[in-house]
Symmetry: C2
């Protein structure tokens, strides 16, 4: 579909957050440098994030009941702390560190890009992060969401179709009037299977400079963008 037709068809832009809008790796490295400078923050951030998909899988399979990301992050944190010589951290310190996910910094282009996109589209989050986490992150970072949607609303984690179709249902539009914006092909594929439009965002440094990510284009996506500013450009926004 031509870019102009696509820009007119879409009414809602739904954004993945961790890695797409927010720089989880850089933010965790920053906090670890302040709190525990003796720890390899780069490895720590990647270890924490690496526990994410297995934790999701345990919920999806029913092995674990419905659990908010805040609690999953804490379970993973408790699991990795000994490996980084931090087994001695007390409950309050752990809880506070766990909240780093509420304090993630946006990528440098995120706020300005979203502000341009907001002029024409309804902007919502569609993240596995819980509502409280997403709201506090947005308030701190100045992310101008029209609406905070989350796996918590649909009680299902992406890539469950209930999440993608849930966005269309909430706004009473066809799936093709919703575009998922994400830096992860698996997420975009899940959305596409439900009839949503998709925009891939290059985030080559998502896992840090030591582990650059393959961000080459895949033709299945409607748009391939280097940033949210580029997405706004491609959708014809001034």
């Amino acid at each position: 579909m031509a870019a102009a037709a696509l820009a007119n068809q879409v009414e809602v832009l739904a954004f993945d957050i961790f890695g797409t809008v927010a720089d989880w790796h850089g933010s965790i490295v920053r906090e670890m440098r302040e709190r525990h400078p003796q720890v390899d923050g780069d490895a720590f951030a990647r270890a924490w994030r690496a526990g994410y998909k297995p934790a999701m899988a345990r919920v999806a399979s029913g092995q674990l009941g419905w659990t908010l990301i805040d609690d999953l992050h804490r379970m993973i944190l408790d699991d990795i702390l000994p490996r980084f010589g931090l087994a001695h951290l007390g409950g309050e310190e752990r809880e506070d560190l766990n909240k780093v996910w509420h304090r993630l910094d946006p990528w440098p282009d995120s706020v300005a890009g979203l502000e341009r996109l907001k002029r024409r589209y309804i902007l919502c989050t569609l993240s596995n992060g819980n509502i409280g986490l997403l709201t506090r992150m947005a308030k701190r970072a100045g992310l101008p969401w029209d609406c905070v949607l989350s796996a918590e609303v649909f009680r299902a984690y992406k890539p469950d179709p209930a999440t993608y179709l849930g966005v269309a249902k909430v706004f009473d539009v066809e799936p093709g009037q919703v575009m998922l914006v994400a830096a992860h092909h698996e997420d975009l594929e899940g959305a596409r299977r439900c009839g949503l439009r998709t925009a891939y965002i290059e985030r080559p440094l998502e896992f840090g400079a030591a582990q650059p990510k393959d961000v080459s284009a895949r033709p299945a996506n409607d748009l391939h963008c280097t940033s949210l500013a580029d997405l706004a450009d491609q959708l014809g926004l001034g």
Copy 2:
């Protein structure tokens, strides 16, 4: 509790919308004047709203399954149209008129008041309106919510405790750290029973100038305010 202590204890302000933040009566009168000037818009607006509580009650009792406000508004609309000589309206016209609830104007003090309150508090909606309705209303009117919460998220209508306690749960705070802001005593009473703080907002013209509302203070509320600007004043915001 002294105002300053209260201002510090509260972290989240949850707002009722219809009548408290938005002027449903004036907005419906305005649209009816444009669309159907022969109809008594004042009586029409009140008739439409009068169907609201009975419709809620049917859902609460289980007589009607879970139904979004958009659909309840449409059922009531279909019911009242003949009484106002509008039985001839087609499906598309009815659907478009029904969406007036997405286009409600805020009270004149709402946007500026919320912007002041947003500097210190997390601002969320807590309305029986559905998420899509609340989001579109906010986007059109410029209401700066941090988060759109709704009966739709909790699958229960106010004054069900699941809604008030749901806000505290979403933000992982004690009920006493949430304050409900509303122009309706029944709503505030429901919140108070769950341990929330309460602020009453005077909206004497909620039902139009022909039917002024008793807005006298009741001592059970923590705060009694003439407007959202007054609420910001009382909470010590500049």
